[in-house]
């Protein structure tokens, strides 16, 4: 599934963000699975709330990092959507 700038992503109802103190990494946990995240991935997912659009998230992160992150954010979220961990609501 491909998300666009107008998509409104939400985490799968059964997935939750957590922090793994052993690996010192953020992690997405869900039934029978775990995805270890890097800091960028976690920064994106922390802004995913089912209300913001992909464009909103791109703008917020663009300001934070001072660069255009539209392609990276869209691809990252689309990849998780293909794995059914992100939904377009």
């Amino acid at each position: 599934m491909e998300l666009t700038l107008t998509s409104r992503p939400a985490l799968w109802r059964l997935a939750r963000l957590d922090f793994d103190p052993v690996r010192n990494r953020p992690v997405l946990l869900y039934p029978e699975g775990a995805v270890l995240l890097n800091d960028t991935g976690a920064a994106i997912l922390e802004l995913v709330d089912g209300a913001r659009t992909v464009a909103d998230i791109v703008e917020l992160l663009g300001q934070r990092y001072g660069t255009d992150v539209a392609a990276d954010v869209t691809e990252y979220l689309s990849d998780l959507a293909r794995r059914e961990l992100i939904r377009d609501v």
Partner: protein, 363 residues
């Protein structure tokens, strides 16, 4: 030593179970109630597992609900930050227990369904169970748990896969795991009665694929082919001692739930040693880690990083040497025994039911 850290612990809290499924993944020789670990043992094991890097905990069995301390164990697991799944038959999941488990912080419940046809389902389970399972499923939904239904597929239910999928959806499952029987232990004992035909498998796969699209976004589906009908073996839990560990009801620590079938190996006990030591240092966990143990044809095979030579338990059960290539691999010199098993005439659906030794054999 390994730098690998496990992500998943399967805690087989007990081998006791009200069901008698003839493909049970528990070993033929099961642990009796008096041999089970104590509540404190399990809590210590969960704490050690978390320290080792485990994120996912399966509370399994047997039927884990026969343990009266299940709620206490679930509370402890949640306190450690583990994501816990209860793997249950559904029998014994009363409202008070389900509510206590929810309050304990249990997040995910997996209930087994034997068939969409109630009569066949109960013949497989060896016990009246359909009504209780339906009630348990309704409770799981009502209380808002993440809900998976898992179904073991074999000759007697494979032709009803469409009805099974629709039943799971109507019960409100978030996830549906459709896994063909694995032929170890009880499954191997009953192989001639359980083995489907290739045509059955192909029809079922087509139905499952269509349903996966239809239910996309509503119910996540997983369809696991029978490995006898595959060209290459399964990458068993991502490789031996890499991501996964199992603690059996008596405390033995295993790289997979079938490993005690490798009777030439000794597994250390969590009563005597820490999980940290067993994971990193024990001979059993190092035996098939990486690829230096491999023989040909695995050793020079590019797929050795994909499927790790397949299943060590299957290699041992069928060839007598756990270091051999999994014989389901079409590159294995022993593949002929798999083809012979596929070609064997089907035995009638008369099962040797799962029982704990010294219980009277059913049927």
């Amino acid at each position: 030593m390994t730098s690998e850290r496990p992500t998943t612990l399967l805690a087989e809290l007990t081998h006791r179970c009200p069901l008698h499924c003839p493909y049970c993944s528990n070993p033929l020789e099961m642990v009796r109630a008096e041999g089970e670990l104590s509540t404190d043992d399990w809590k210590r094991i969960f704490t050690q597992a978390r320290g080792l890097g485990v994120l996912q905990l399966g509370l399994s069995g047997g039927e884990p609900l026969v343990r009266k301390d299940l709620e206490e164990l679930a509370t402890h697991a949640r306190g450690l930050g583990l994501y816990s799944t209860l793997v249950t038959s559904g029998l014994g999941l009363t409202r008070p227990r389900a509510e206590r488990l929810r309050d304990a912080g249990l997040e995910h419940i997996q209930i087994s369904i034997q068939d969409a046809d109630a009569e066949v389902a109960e013949r497989i389970a060896g016990v009246r169970s359909v009504k209780q399972k339906r009630a348990a499923a309704a409770l799981v939904k009502e209380l808002g748990f993440a809900f998976t239904i898992n179904v073991v597929l074999h000759r007697a239910n494979l032709d009803r896969i469409g009805e099974i999928i629709d039943l799971a959806a109507s019960l409100g499952a978030d996830r549906l795991e459709l896994a063909n029987t694995q032929y170890y232990g009880w499954g191997l004992l009953n192989r001639a009665s359980l083995m489907p035909t290739r045509e059955q498998v192909e029809r079922a796969q087509a139905v499952a694929r269509e349903a996966m699209e239809r239910y996309r976004g509503r119910m996540q589906m997983l369809f696991v082919l029978p490995d006898y009908y595959e060209r290459y073996p399964k990458p068993c839990y991502g490789g031996w001692g890499k991501l996964y560990l199992v603690v059996s009801p008596d405390g033995r620590v295993l790289p997979c739930h079938g490993a005690t079938q490798i009777t030439t190996m000794t597994f250390e006990n969590a009563r005597d040693r820490s999980l940290e030591y067993i994971w990193h240092e024990s001979a059993a966990f190092q035996a098939f880690r990486g690829d230096s143990w491999m023989k040909e044809p695995c050793r020079s095979c590019p797929r050795k990083t994909v499927d790790f030579g397949g299943c060590r338990c299957q290699a041992f059960a069928l060839t007598g040497d756990a270091a051999n290539t999994d014989p389901v691999c079409t590159l294995s010199p022993d593949r002929a025994m798999i083809d012979a098993a596929i070609g064997e005439p089907a035995a009638p659906a008369e099962y040797r039911y799962r029982v704990i030794a010294s219980e009277p054999q059913r049927a």
